[in-house]
Amino acid sequence: MGRFGLIFKSIAKGRVTEKYPFAPIELPEGFRGKPEIDPEKCIGCGACATVCPPSAIQIHVDEEQGYKTIDLFLGRCIFCARCEEVCPAEAIRLTKEFELAAASEEDLHQVVKLKMAKCAGCGRPFDTVRHLQFIAEKLPEEQKPMLALCPDCRAKLASKILTVAARRHR
């Protein structure tokens, strides 16, 4: 058969070329495309930024304005879906979108700015309001007030109480 076999094969096969870009293509279930943050659901906990292998998600804290910024840069994302796995609020999701080409780098950013809450002790913004509310839902009622303090103030308060307690005991 040899080469004639190949020629027959090619003819019998017909057209194998897809029509793209003139017709859309089909994508399988579970395709890992563009990650998208749902800004309504995001609580700004930063779990995604911690696991993201290329640090495509970065967190900036603006203490003056009292905002926490979650910056997702698609141009660095490796589409690994780790962020989707760890997000406690199920806010980040990998869509099937793959047509991501853009003419400028700015177009590749998705930014979510969340309001931060000021510490009742020192007045420094320390965590997003949404994250605090998210934790509060999981905490027993009597521990909730502790959330009003930043970790530093909480530690200070705790040690103060301990000293008081120790003195009282003596």
């Binding site: 290329p54 698609l74 930014v111 700015k113 510490c119 009282r168």
Partner: protein, 185 residues
């Protein structure tokens, strides 16, 4: 429209892992076959209309990348293919790479005073062959750009934790702990 007809591309591997290179090659095989759209890989930057970078541009290949870039005649298009080329990828801050096309332009500007040309960023790791085709189509303005930057700012009146969780500073809530200490001693 700058390039009405066939787009000839010079592909430059600037330290990529090969994933993107194979996908670039892939679009010339039967399933995608972009030669039907007049796109062709050429062997010399001097014959090219567009130069495609794959990889984060390592220190070692920086001088060669600059040379190849300058050899492409004006007007030219740059295709940054893959997350490595767009933003440095997983290597973006390593000591051995310069970290993507933007840094490359910075160096070009500083050293040679060259302004960045039209650049198409094609993220993906590696981008699907169709994503590359889409990018090239975008370069030729044959399709609309779908990807746009999004900024969401939360509007909220609450900004201090005390209003959320009142009586925060009162030591009352910690008293059970003191009992524990007493018993322990």
């Amino acid at each position: 429209m700058m390039f009405k007809k066939s787009l000839w591309v010079f592909h430059l591997n600037s330290g990529s892992c090969n994933g993107c290179d194979i996908e670039v090659l892939n679009i010339f095989t039967p399933k995608q076959d972009v030669e039907r759209l007049g796109i062709k890989l050429v062997g010399s930057p001097r014959h090219a209309d567009a130069i495609a970078f794959t990889g984060p541009i390592t220190r070692e290949c920086l001088p060669k990348a600059i040379e190849a870039f300058m050899a492409v005649p004006e007007p030219k298009i740059v295709l940054a293919i893959g997350s490595c080329a767009c933003g440095g990828g997983i290597w973006f801050d390593s000591y051995a790479v310069i970290g993507g096309i933007k840094e490359f332009y910075k160096i070009l500007k500083e050293k040679h005073g060259i302004e960045p040309p039209t650049t198409i960023y094609i993220p993906g790791c590696p981008p699907k062959p169709e994503a590359i085709i889409y990018g090239v189509a975008l370069a030729r303005k044959a399709v609309e750009q779908k990807q746009k930057s999004e900024i969401f700012v939360e509007e909220s009146d609450i900004d201090d934790a005390a209003t959320l969780f009142k009586e925060a500073t009162s030591t009352r809530h910690f008293i059970p702990k003191i009992e524990v200490i007493k018993r322990g001693e």
